[in-house]
């Protein structure tokens, strides 16, 4: 087994002639926390979908915890210990928060151990007081946390978070940042985020995506002062506003 939990080599995917992702090399060490940034359409979410088997790569390969994911279905990749929080909160809306978390905990543990995992996860995410409520009636921010709890309850080795702080108030963002720190104590993390303040709170190493490629990979301080990063971000933002 390699020391890297994720190794993507020459990864690319093409949709009807459009290169959504071209030739991405990405390595993540055990226990690492990595942030992915980049303008809209840079391929971050596509990259997550390739890692979790929601898309099959056109080129290249992904190895997770020493297993090639070629030909594996989403649920098989999840069974390797990969948890993902999708961009739009994806929970079981009609079920209680507790049931949501139990469904995840029960896949890797049985009986009392599963119940304990549910209690632990609800404590960790501070959702204990919402346990009996239906996930669908909660606010957007609360559903984001429910999804984090659901992802954590199966005790994954690798967690992918797609915009975990999107649509949250400042206070909620702070709490999420703390939560992400706690999650990182347990497993490796990849976080996609747009909010630079949030990135500064949590990140050490950052990978910048642009137009389906890795533009650069460096520490957060250096990335934030890099001219190219400013160009792709500001250029795009100015173009959008203009």
């Amino acid at each position: 087994m390699s020391a890297n939990i994720v190794e993507a080599v020459g990864l690319g995917v093409t949709f009807g002639g459009v290169h959504a992702l071209k030739n991405v090399d990405f390595r993540l060490a055990e226990g690492e926390l990595r942030c992915l940034i980049g303008p809209n359409g840079a391929g971050k979410s596509t990259f997550f979908k390739l890692l979790t088997g929601q898309y099959s790569p056109t080129r290249g390969s992904v190895t997770i915890r020493g297993h090639s994911t070629r030909g594996l279905q989403s649920h098989q990749i999840a069974q390797l210990g990969v948890g993902i929080k999708t961009q739009v909160p994806s929970v079981f809306n009609g079920l209680s928060v507790e049931e949501n978390v139990w469904l995840s905990a029960r896949r890797t543990a049985k009986g009392v151990a599963a119940s304990k995992a549910v209690t632990d996860t609800l404590d960790m995410t501070g959702l204990g007081h919402l346990a009996t409520l239906q996930a669908g009636v909660l606010s957007h921010g609360q559903r984001q946390w429910v999804e984090l709890a659901v992802v954590m309850a199966s005790r994954p080795a690798l967690v992918l978070l797609d915009e975990p702080a999107a649509g949250m108030s400042d206070e909620e963002v702070m709490r999420t940042a703390k939560l992400i720190g706690a999650i990182n104590q347990r497993c490796a993390l990849v976080v996609v985020e747009h909010d630079m303040e949030f990135i500064k709170m949590i990140a050490r190493k950052v990978t910048v995506f642009n137009r389906g490629e890795v533009l650069l990979e460096d520490t957060v301080e250096r990335v934030l002062v890099d001219e190219r990063v400013r160009d792709v971000y500001l250029g795009r933002e100015l173009a959008m506003k203009g």
Binding site: Q73, H75, Q76, S90, E99, L103, S104, R106
Partner: protein, 332 residues
């Protein structure tokens, strides 16, 4: 305690009905109620597949029909009714397994799933319909084309072919099966399998990303539903000692869906209630001979979809909860 309330209540209700109804009602009414009971089992099968598995199957009648034909053919060939009964559950379940394998593992979307199940029913209808004449037989059982198979021997006490069940005993058996299926399904839904099934209905992608193979769970529910529908078909063949291609008809499939909608999708009690009410209404309107029952059925369906899309049982549950709540509030 409250958790076991529905199961215990249904057990008491079932036992009561088994012994009391045959003693107090005349045979004509007994036969009428018996067909409601049998169809309730069919309604429950769709209640599981659609209400909990989220699979809108337009062809539940296919499994019902297969069950009734399997029973008839097995009975005429082997003469042991317990074996025929088991086959009448196993054959539709296997058929559902094969059909479901291609649909779920082929990741067919919901709309096409409806089309495929509907088409399969119609194919079976036409297939069986065109088997008139002596050339078409399985073993010693002639298939009979659109005339169906008459004089099917009724269930008998296991091992004693000469001790056939009379109407009263058959009624008790049907009620016992309905109660068993109801309680069995409640247990299934409380199990890990059932809870994951409901989760898949809520959000299939999320379930997949948690590591559950949603295809297997849906297939499992589909096979279970097929087996239960087959059981209903077998009992239906017993009820009239007769089966014909109409068990595969479009009307049969559509009726089941109406029962489930009227009673309440996503409940187990709902399909039974809906089945009883709609069938009673149809037969009552039939005796009045004032208006075409199908016209009224259509109207009932439209009214329910527009005004009460969740069905009767969820409405009653809500009403009961509100009543309990107001009682608690008025207490000092």
């Amino acid at each position: 305690m409250l958790k076991h309330l529905p199961s215990s209540a249904s057990l008491i209700l079932g036992l009561g009905a088994m012994f009391l109804v045959p003693t107090f009602v005349e045979t004509f009414t007994l036969m009428e109620v018996m067909v409601y009971v049998i169809m309730s089992i069919l309604a429950l099968s769709l209640g599981l597949v659609w209400g909990y598995g989220g699979i809108l199957c337009f062809g539940q009648a296919a499994f019902f029909g297969l069950g009734s034909y399997t029973y008839a053919i097995a009975m005429l060939n082997f003469g042991e009714s317990s074996f025929a009964l088991l086959l009448a559950i196993a054959v539709p379940a296997l058929f559902a397994g094969a059909l479901g394998y291609f649909m779920f593992f082929g990741r067919i979307s919901d709309v096409y799933l409806g089309v495929i199940t509907l088409t399969v029913t119609l194919i079976l209808f036409n297939l069986v319909n065109s088997t008139s004449g002596g050339r078409f037989h399985i073993g010693s059982a002639p298939l009979g084309g659109f005339n169906g198979i008459p004089s099917i021997p009724t269930l008998h006490v296991p091992g004693f072919p000469e001790r056939t069940l009379d109407a009263q005993a058959l009624f008790a058996v049907c009620v016992a099966f309905l109660t068993a299926v109801y309680i069995g399904l409640r247990l299934v839904l409380a199990s890990h399998f059932g809870r994951v099934l409901v989760a898949i209905r809520e959000n299939e992608k999320r379930a997949d990303l948690l590591g559950y193979d949603s295809r297997k769970y849906k297939l499992g529910a589909f096979v279970l539903g097929g087996g239960i529908a087959g059981l209903a078909g077998c009992l239906f063949a017993n009820w009239g000692a007769f089966t014909s291609p109409t068990v595969f008809s479009l009307a049969q499939s559509a009726q089941v869906i109406i029962w489930v909608i009227v009673g309440g999708v996503g409940t187990l009690f709902g399909p039974i209630v809906g089945c009883f009410i709609v069938q009673w209404l149809t037969s009552y309107l039939g005796t009045l001979s004032l208006i075409n029952p199908n016209l009224v059925l259509g109207l009932v369906l439209i009214l329910f979809v527009l005004l009460l899309p969740k069905g009767i049982v969820p409405l009653l549950q809500k009403g009961a909860l509100l009543a309990v709540g107001s009682l608690r509030r008025t207490r000092p």
